[in-house]
């Protein structure tokens, strides 16, 4: 028993020492295996292919930098990209393959909350593998029950977005405006619309029609009819671009829908960029994924090096940033062991420490190897992961669909979580 206790204490001291002590270049040796999980086929493919490309570009950049620095004892590889199809069941099967067959140290994805929830519950948390999700459901935070978060959300959650939407609509149409709400009938639509409803009613607004619709129905004409009733001052839609288009056509047919008085959730910020169509005048909010000073460099890299046919979207910076955060955390930990790197994620994304972005990766690596504390700034912004696994600073972009069919950011607002 005494020897067991001594061994435990020695192990504990060694672990603490390993976390606290800078990792010198000649001692650090690991291979970091990434897995990407995203909907690569079906409905989510236009975004999923981009998510995968952004992660691949991040990993390639890290590998190239390590190579140019002569750090051959540290390797990063993209072990595999698996297709979740945007479906929880397929996502779990894909994640099992990544964890059990490919033995990945970290998973970048999925960007659907429903898939992330299923995968975290069934695969990554039981196997203690961290994942960086693009999912925005507030419920994801509750999955992090341990001392070190394993589900990291590099984007602001929907409980914040609902309040931001209320603020943006209030600015445009007034506090007491009548807003009809149309939301897809799934966890994303019903949760976000409920948060908006609470915020909107609390500030004195009314919601004459609150329509939660089944987006898989062949036609949505009756839903469109209901959504134009009650003489609304404006509309809020919570849907994805391709299914929203199925609703937008019947809405147009009613002759009583005005896109210039319509607002959308983050997934409707730029439908033309997602292979669908924009509605001139319509506005949408999206957590600012382009606030970082290195965002233009990321966009240029993506446009130059991504697979042809894969469209650039601002939210892809989340996937790109996550690859660097995971790597730098592993480097600081001196190990690609999933639990060890997870314990260092907050350290490399918060002050104190000198600020670096991906264009200064070599310097960031040198600083860590020299035992210095760093703060990695992503293309999305300062990141600042909190103890729950969420980013703790948020700004939101207000997008607007333009007459020429494009979309652009017309305003950015800061919002305190």
């Amino acid at each position: 028993m005494a020897s067991h206790s001594a061994r435990f204490v020695a192990l504990l001291v060694a672990s603490v020492f390993a976390i606290a002590t800078p990792a010198a270049a000649d001692k650090v040796s690991f291979t970091m295996r990434y897995g990407v999980l995203a909907g690569l086929t079906g409905d989510p493919a236009p975004s999923g292919q981009g998510w995968n490309e952004a992660a691949r570009l991040g990993i390639d950049t890290i590998a190239r930098t390590l190579n140019s620095m002569g750090l051959n004892s540290i390797q990063v590889v993209l072990a595999d990209s698996q297709d979740s199809q945007g479906n929880p069941q397929a996502g779990v099967e894909a994640a099992q393959k990544l964890v059990q067959i490919d033995h990945v140290n970290v998973i970048i994805g999925d960007f659907y909350s429903s898939v992330t929830t299923a995968v975290a519950t069934a695969v990554t948390i039981p196997n203690q593998v961290p994942m960086f999700t693009g999912g925005t459901s507030p419920a994801l935070t509750r999955l992090n029950a341990g001392t070190v978060p394993l589900v990291w959300q590099p984007v602001a959650a929907d409980d914040l977005q609902g309040r931001v939407l209320a603020e943006v609509i209030s600015d445009a149409l007034g506090n007491s405006a009548k807003i009809n709400v149309g939301a897809r009938n799934d966890a994303y639509g019903s949760n976000l619309s409920a948060v908006f409803k609470d915020a909107w009613v609390k500030q004195g607004g009314t919601i004459p029609k609150f329509i939660v619709y089944n987006h898989q129905q062949p036609t949505l004409d009756s839903e469109a009819q209901q959504l134009v009733e009650g003489n609304p001052d404006g509309w809020l839609f919570i849907d994805f671009c391709n299914t929203f288009e199925k609703l937008a056509l019947p809405l147009t047919r009613t002759g009583r829908w005005d896109p210039t008085k319509s607002f959308g959730s983050d997934t409707l910020n730029d439908c033309a960029g997602r292979g669908s169509k924009n509605y001139p005048g319509m506005r949408a909010t999206q957590a600012d994924a382009s606030a970082g000073s290195s965002f233009p460099a990321f966009r240029a890299l993506f446009q130059k090096s991504a697979k042809p046919g894969v469209n650039f979207q601002a939210f892809l910076a989340e996937s790109f940033d996550s690859t660097f955060v995971a790597f730098l955390a592993a480097l600081e930990a001196g190990s690609a062991d999933p639990t060890k790197l997870a314990a260092h994620v907050r350290s490399v994304t918060n002050d104190p420490g000198r600020n670096y972005d991906f264009t200064q990766l070599d310097e960031a690596i040198k600083a860590i190897l020299a035992g210095q504390k760093i703060h990695f700034n992503g293309a999305t912004g300062p990141i600042n992961f909190g103890e729950t696994g969420r980013i703790s600073a948020a700004s939101y972009d207000v997008w607007q669909h333009m007459p020429d069919g494009s979309a652009k950011v017309v305003k950015t607002i800061k919002f305190a979580p």
Binding site: D43, N185, I211, N214, P218, T219, Q225, R253, G255
Partner: protein
């Protein structure tokens, strides 16, 4: 309120016609071949994409595209019958029906592979709306109504008055008796696949022009509504499917009418369809026009 009622009536008629036409094919295939064809939705998808190819790539008008899409889908349905289902006959209803599930998945994935997952649209200006005073109608809806108004009576006449139609109904009613009466049930089997394929192709084009945009999930999304139509009308009954489909479309759309106790929430439309089916089957287990049978 009256205007809303008439608009919903029109929308319900369009949805119902698609279900009715697709349902006739599915019910006759079941009645004659004893196959619950779960790939029927993918036949609609194939028809929609065949029409798209003709309309957008080969620059044909929508009506010509629909006609050729019907022929192409009929050929596909016959090919599936001859290559897969006919050699497997006698394996039982469950086995053959499960095979159609696999066929459906395969067909959908092939469409995904070839056409991609992005949304497609026919060359119709979807921003135009015709205001007819009491109702508003899009060009896609107008085309769907025109196709339905021509095809549905022709189909009814064919089933009622032609030798082929009578033979099909007789075989669907009682295959053994039809064979004893001198009907070549194997030939009728092939012809019913052709008819089912053609109607599914038309249904696919109609759904695509009404929806405006579509992806390879088009047919799968309405598959269970088609089966509801088949059961509601009475399994094997072509007339039943015609009436059942239109009734189902009307009931689902009109249930949201605000004059009807404020209107049902739209998300419960499919629930209402299945509730109507359950209630009908409790009252009349063989469906509206079906006859009691042992499967």
């Amino acid at each position: 309120v009256t205007q809303q009622f008439l608009q919903l009536l029109l929308n319900g008629f369009i949805t119902g016609t698609v279900l009715a036409l697709a349902g006739v094919g599915a019910t006759l295939v079941f009645g004659i071949q004893r196959v619950a064809n779960f790939a029927h939705g993918e036949l609609l998808t194939f028809g929609a994409y065949a029409g798209l190819l003709l309309n957008v790539v080969l620059d044909q008008n929508v009506v010509v595209s629909a006609l050729i899409a019907m022929l192409a889908t009929a050929a596909l349905a016959l090919a599936l019958h001859l290559a897969v289902l006919h050699p497997l006959r006698g394996r039982g209803l469950v086995a053959t029906s499960l095979i159609t599930v696999g066929l459906g998945l395969m067909l959908r994935d092939v469409v995904f592979l070839i056409a991609g997952s992005e949304l497609h649209a026919y060359r119709i200006d979807q921003s135009v709306v015709y205001d007819l005073g009491v109702v508003r109608i899009s060009p896609g809806q107008a085309i769907a109504i025109a196709l339905a108004v021509v095809v549905t009576p022709l189909l009814t006449l064919m089933l009622a008055h032609t030798r082929l139609g009578k033979s099909m109904r007789a075989t669907a009613d009682n295959r053994d008796l039809a064979a004893v009466a001198g009907i070549d049930v194997d030939r009728i089997g092939r012809q019913v696949w052709l008819l089912a394929g053609a109607l599914a192709g038309l249904g696919g084009v109609m759904t695509a022009v009404v929806q405006g945009v579509f992806d390879p999930n088009l047919g799968f999304q309405i598959l269970f509504m088609i089966f509801t139509t088949v059961v509601l009308g009475g399994i094997g009954s072509a007339y039943g499917a015609l009436v059942g489909g239109i009734a189902l479309g009307l009931v689902m759309e009109l249930s949201t009418w605000s004059g009807f106790a404020g209107g049902l929430e739209a998300k419960y439309k499919p629930v209402l369809a299945f509730l109507a089916l359950i209630l009908l089957l409790l009252w009349r287990p063989e469906g509206l026009f079906g006859r009691a049978r042992v499967l």
